[in-house]
Amino acid sequence: MNYIEHVGKYFMMLFQVFKKPQRRRFFYESLFKEIEELGLKSLGIIMFISFFIGGVIALQTALNVDSPFIPKSLIGFAAKRSIILEFAPTFCSIILAGKVGSYITSSIGTMRVTEQIDALEVMGINSLNHLVLPKVIATVFFYPFLISLAMVLGIFGGWVAGVLSGLFSGLDYIEGLQMDFKPFLITYAMIKTLVFAFLIATVPSYHGYYVKGGSIAVGKASTKSVVWTTILIVIFNYFLTQMLLT
């Protein structure tokens, strides 16, 4: 199947996904389960990575800024910009595409190959709406919190790294954080996060839902979904940056 067909099928899938849930009570139950599965269970890895990558960004910046004419506060400024603009929304989304994307594809794909999706269809349930909509809502609503947390922890990690290494002082770092603060950059990061969250929920769902074959096909679909979600995140990152910042 060529790419155009996949794109068409993906949008047709979305058309089915965004229908009114058949049973509101059931939808909310699924939504809370998905928030736990796709959001809360990703907290640990995001917190861990954000803290250390924030530290590395600050250290790298400090090590490359060795001119006495450049104020140390620029380290905090550069770390803040890198973390808010790119690391938290994009890098964390790519990590989530790997972790959550493979989970979504394998869980939906397994339901497909074990006829659980057929069972839903026979019962008269819109399986796409039932399975995918809670995932989309969960990621779109929860990931901004996750990414905000990544921003805070990344910046904090930078401060800790500076203080522990002695490469810059905490005060310089905080001064840099306060320097030229533009609230729009947070908006920009949140817009990116929402788009990426949508991709992280829908692209792996597409790959899982239309899988054909057995367990090997599910494994291959998981890999494919992570690759495609990452590619799409990178492409959308470029276009969103061009649209919003230039």
């Binding site: 074990t114 057929d118 008269g124």
Partner: protein, 255 residues
């Protein structure tokens, strides 16, 4: 009653069903048999509406399923129970949640009413005290019984089973066969089973439909299958020495 009229179905250039016509009656257990690739699964999936016929129609008590409005289709879906080959139980849900699923989705019963109904059907399939177990904790036979319980929990008018005893030991397979037949008679359900199992054919086949190359090659009862001279049926059903001997014994007895 389910009436199938001149049913055609294919995928691309490959024609799978080439004009099948038959009827399935309430309170009777009907079996579809045939070699792998004969079109049994496509036929069954067409009956349950997972495939749309290219030509011909299927009517359910006079209602043609392809003519249904969205609401009629929703209503009709609730009249259908399906037991899948691999049970198709939702593996993240307990037995109780699996069986309760259609009730939660389509009825406005209270939790205690739903629980009463779930316990009733689980008792009917001889599966008590398994409510809180996950499908992975059950044997193949128990999973099949949960699947039957889920299929009948909404009081269906039509029950479809895709190889309900595949992968089961002969004793459990007979238990499942008998259970389906009992339920069919008890609730006057129109039951259609897709099977490879010749024991099922002999035991519960009140009506047997033999498919070959997408066509109806033979139709009759389990009594008729002993007497038939249809070469395709004889080759398929009596391919094992055991069944050949059973047939000979039956024919000698009825002479």
């Amino acid at each position: 009653m389910i009436e199938v009229n001149n049913l055609h179905k294919g995928f691309g250039d490959v024609k799978i069903l080439k004009g099948i016509s038959t009827k399935f009656y309430p309170g009777k257990t009907s079996l579809i048999i045939g070699q792998s690739g004969s079109g049994k699964t496509v036929f069954l999936k067409s009956l349950i509406g997972l495939h749309t016929p290219e030509e011909g129609f299927i009517s359910f008590d006079g209602r043609v399923n392809t003519n249904f409005t969205t609401e009629e289709k929703r209503q009709w879906r609730q009249e259908i129970g399906m037991v899948f080959q691999g049970s198709a139980l939702f593996d993240s849900q307990t037995v109780e949640e699996n069986v309760m699923f259609p009730l939660k989705m389509f009825t406005k019963k209270t939790n205690s009413e739903m629980l009463d109904r779930v316990n009733f059907v689980l008792k009917r399939v001889n599966l008590e005290n398994a409510n809180k177990k996950l499908p992975a904790e059950l044997s193949g036979g128990m999973q099949k019984r949960v699947a039957i319980a889920r299929a009948i929990v909404m009081n269906p008018k039509y029950l479809f089973c895709d190889e309900p005893n595949s992968g089961l030991d002969p004793q459990t397979a007979i238990v499942i066969d008998n259970l389906i037949q009992e339920i069919t008679e008890e609730y006057n359900i129109t039951t259609v089973i897709n099977t490879h199992d010749m024991n099922s054919v002999m035991e519960i086949g009140e009506k047997i439909l033999f498919l070959k190359n997408g066509l109806k090659a033979w139709e009759g009862s389990s009594e008729d299958i002993f007497k038939t001279d249809n070469e395709a049926v004889v080759d398929f059903v009596y391919s094992s020495n055991l069944f050949k001997k059973v047939r000979e014994a039956y024919l000698n007895e009825t002479k």
